[in-house]
């Protein structure tokens, strides 16, 4: 493998909210974004705003009486038009100098930087994420732009291996039209990273944002266009996944599908792509899910382990693919951890995420709430502790009570199924090897962590723990671009890690060109 360092790249700094100035800018962001409500979100194809026959309101999940946006859903006709335009523009975009494309990403990073306050407010109100999580997410979106820009500079320098009389070049060409199907849980960062990587590689992109976060997606789309991305290279299609998403996945002119979402949908896309009879192999890059575990060793620092578990399990209501859903404890630490963990959960404040003292917000929609409530009643006998949420709060938004379950059966759904909500289950292990075995015994391999001060066990985990991102003595969420490239294997996903050195290459085809420069009797001077 060819590793290189990117010495110029620097991660975007987080905002220091201990400064009063930052807090007041943030408050102004809420005031100013609310003036735009309801934001009108349209499909946009080659710069043209499309009319729609279906307009769906986007409501604040924490307070459903507040309307955030009107989402004008795209139709199949729109999807077809976007594909046609993309195909037509492909050659032009492919032949645009990489430096120009790279410049657009750098500009986009700056635009994102300048709009932090409004973006924070919009994310808080459209998907119910907490302020600090949002701050990290915006920084991640900026990092994706800056990092992929730097990576592209490196990738597009042809690799030369010339000999006397023979020139060898290894270089990359873009694959073709890329469909981006993004999730709502990182509405800005994931969509941004998934879009700018294929774009900077020279592929036209059709953005299909999640239904639940189309307003943020629209802001991002506009930022990318403002940054200079040609309107024929980037199209925006809000709409139903089952409808336009499915249509585009099947479309013979789509070369790459860049997907983040559920395992069922991802595997369906891979099957669909494989079954098509085309003149190329349709590629699916998919990041799908996890059933992530944290192991607490008998010598763990419990102060740290409890705090990290709380943040990893309940941050953004557990609606992260990296979220903690299984805590595997060595017996000697079980009771003391359990009690401190439950007490810590009981100290969290539920409410509106825009209130900075709130630690537990709503889940994304009523469908999610119903699904989670069903799981809670199905496993009611295993509930160890539940954070009470007042009835009137529940009526204003999609609030679900965070739960700690306890189970002695790691093969039950509590130990196997991804819930995508604020649910975590405690399991007991006899020893550290046993704990690793339990942790690995799932379909997924996304994130995982251990708390231990035993160098032998730390080494053992480094070798045996089957996860794409392993965290030692810290929380298991919050991967940072370039520092912790993010992604899993097994049924957690297929493809390179986001924010890592291989990511852009997924949207390129490497080619090798060899030229014999020897002509009878003479070779050119070098």
């Amino acid at each position: 493998m060819n590793f290189h360092n990117n010495p110029d790249f620097q991660n975007e700094t987080l905002r220091d909210f201990s400064k009063e100035e930052e807090r007041s800018i943030l408050n102004k962001g809420f005031v100013s974004i609310r003036k735009e409500f309801p934001i009108q979100v349209f499909p946009i194809i080659s710069g043209k705003t499309k009319k729609s026959s279906l307009i769906v309101p986007a409501l604040n999940p924490a307070n459903t009486s507040e309307k955030i946006a009107d989402i004008h859903y795209a139709s199949i006709t729109d999807a077809e038009e976007a594909t046609k335009d993309s195909v037509q523009f492909f050659e032009t975009w492919k032949n645009t100098k990489p430096d120009i494309r790279i410049g657009f990403l750098k500009k986009a990073a700056n635009l994102l930087r300048s709009q932090k306050a409004e973006l924070t407010a919009l994310m808080s109100l459209e998907v119910g994420k907490g302020i600090k999580d949002i701050d990290a997410e915006i920084a991640e979106a900026i990092d994706f732009c800056d990092f992929y820009a730097k990576e592209a500079e490196y990738i597009f320098q042809p690799r030369k291996r010339d000999l006397l009389g023979e020139e060898n070049i290894y270089t990359y060409i873009p694959r073709g039209v890329t469909l981006v199907v993004a999730p709502w849980n990182f509405p800005l960062a994931i969509l941004c990273g998934m879009t700018v990587a294929p774009l900077v590689a020279g592929n036209p992109v059709i953005m299909k944002p999640a239904e639940q976060s189309s307003a943020i997606a629209f802001k991002l789309f506009n930022i990318l266009i403002e940054a200079g991305i040609p309107s024929s290279a980037l199209h925006f299609l809000p709409g139903k996944g089952e409808e336009i998403g499915a249509y585009l996945v099947k479309h013979p002119e789509i070369h790459t599908i860049n997907f983040t979402g559920s395992r069922a949908v991802g595997l369906g896309m891979i099957r669909e792509a494989a079954s098509q009879n085309l003149k190329f192999v349709k590629k699916v890059v998919a990041e799908m899910g996890g059933k992530n575990a944290l192991i607490v060793d008998e010598d763990a620092d419990l102060d740290e382990a409890v705090i990290a578990s709380i943040q990893s399990a309940f941050g953004f209501q557990g609606q992260k693919c990296s979220a903690l859903s299984r805590i595997i404890l060595l017996e000697s630490k079980y009771d003391i951890f359990k009690n401190r963990f439950i007490d810590a959960l009981q100290s969290l404040k539920p409410g509106l995420p825009e209130d900075p003292s709130v630690k537990v917000g709503p889940v994304i929609d009523s469908e999610s709430k119903t699904r989670l409530d069903t799981i809670a009643s199905q496993f009611s006998s295993k509930i160890l502790s539940k954070l009470k949420i007042e009835e009137d709060q529940k009526h204003t938004g999609h609030f679900v009570e965070p739960i700690v379950f306890e189970s002695d059966d790691p093969t039950s759904p509590l130990g196997q199924t991804e819930f995508f909500g604020p649910y975590v289950t405690l399991f007991k292990a006899k020893n550290f090897e046993d704990a690793i075995k339990i942790a690995n015994n799932v379909d997924y391999a996304l994130t995982g962590g251990i708390f231990s001060r035993n160098p032998k066990n730390i080494q053992y985990a480094k070798e045996k723990f089957e996860v794409g991102n392993l965290y030692i003595n810290r929380g298991i969420t919050g991967a940072v671009v370039d520092r912790q490239p993010f992604g899993g294997y097994k049924l957690s996903g297929v493809g390179a890690k986001a924010g890592g050195p291989d990511y852009i290459k997924q949207f390129l085809e490497p080619i090798s060109i060899t030229e014999n420069t020897m002509r009878r009797g003479f070779i050119p001077e070098t």
């Binding site: 007490d343 100290s347 209130d355 900075p356």
Partner: protein
Amino acid sequence: MAKPLGSEQNRMKATEENEPKIITSSPDLQDKILEKGKELFRLSDSFEDSFFSTYRLFSKSLLFLENRPLLKLQAFRFADLFPSLSSLSSISRYIRIYFVETPTELPKWILLFLSLLLSNPLSSVFVAVGAKIGIRLTAKFFILGRTYGSDRKKIIDRYKNGICSTIDILGEAVLSEKEAERYISEYLLLLEEVSKDKEISEIRDSQFPGEPTGNVSVKCSSLYSQLDPLAHESSVTHLMKKLRPILSSAVSKNIFINLDMEQYETKDIIMDTAFRIFAEPEFQDYPHFGIVVQAYLKVSQKDLQRVIEYSKKRKYPLTVRLVKGAYWEYEMTQSAQKGWEPPVFLIKSETDRNYEECSALLLKSYPHIRPAFGSHNIRSLSSAFVKAAEYSVPENFFEVQMLYGMGNSYKQAIRSLGISVREYSPIGEVIPGMAYLVRRLLENSTNEGFLKNINANSKDRERLLYLENSKSK
């Protein structure tokens, strides 16, 4: 408030530029500081071994780690881990992992001896018991005791020797409101016990006429589990609610309350809380409140100005404990990971210099602030004493604070100059408290030069009296 501060800083800057070598003070003042330092050294020599000579033994054994960075790292890691080891067999297992199987600079013969002992179950128990006793003894040396009630004898001994104390409750991080409530009741109990101690009050009445009934240092982070700089307003409100019963009890018992400072992140929350709650009608005319300023913070002079302005409006002055700060490594890693400018000075001598500038600010504000100089650094203290004389601040108006268990001969020396000395005395479970204290000690032993101070010969010792020397860590 911003204007005079700005000009103050400019003035200091100008001095720096004019006199690059001797920075904070005139040559004359510099000489006086050296003289005062030498005097303190001389005086402390006369108290040597008169008072807890075991400390010398302990600090000598710590010096064993001085030029052995790997061993030092393992030793401190082991001490950090120790509280969570529940059995003798796990203690000996970890001694093997940490010291035998991990390469350190341990001399070969010790290593051989240690692995020999650990290879046999019977003798390995012996090693574990030995380690346990050793750690327990060390911890006892730095921790007053489990509770005030159980170990008040030690405090009384100190008072008899002319040394007051401020009591602090050690413990784990507060992760929940339940744990916070437990700490609050521990503080309330401590206030109760202190106020009921008749023996102490008799000694105090005869020896320390100005002293309140007791002195307690409160860690705000242990009173509220959801302290969060983002939620500044609600953090302040909650903290005030938690502090009110503690302050009320202290007021009714005439006990001094100091609000300790911890991470930079929560500094403004604690300062705002202090300013607001001390101004409440019940507390506005109470003479015994204090807060802390950390000189390693770049904003410390600005903060100090704020405290001075605030204290001027009070009927009785606040006490400011001026320390250098114990979270240097933490602040450095936090700011590096978040991509922030570190809030602390990067070079030790800049902290030392700032400490002296803060001392001067404090003394100049006489009589609006009572300074409490928290340091073991003789140069820093000498500088404060010399400046106090220069600004005609009476010696009974300020005090020196040092940690319980450390620098005892210096405490006696300072006492003999007529300056009050107060010990920061932690109480709590000995073993969990150990990890906490070792972390503090680690920070102190690296950047205070304090241990060297105690053990160095007189020539080396005098070199420690120059600001520039503290550059080398």
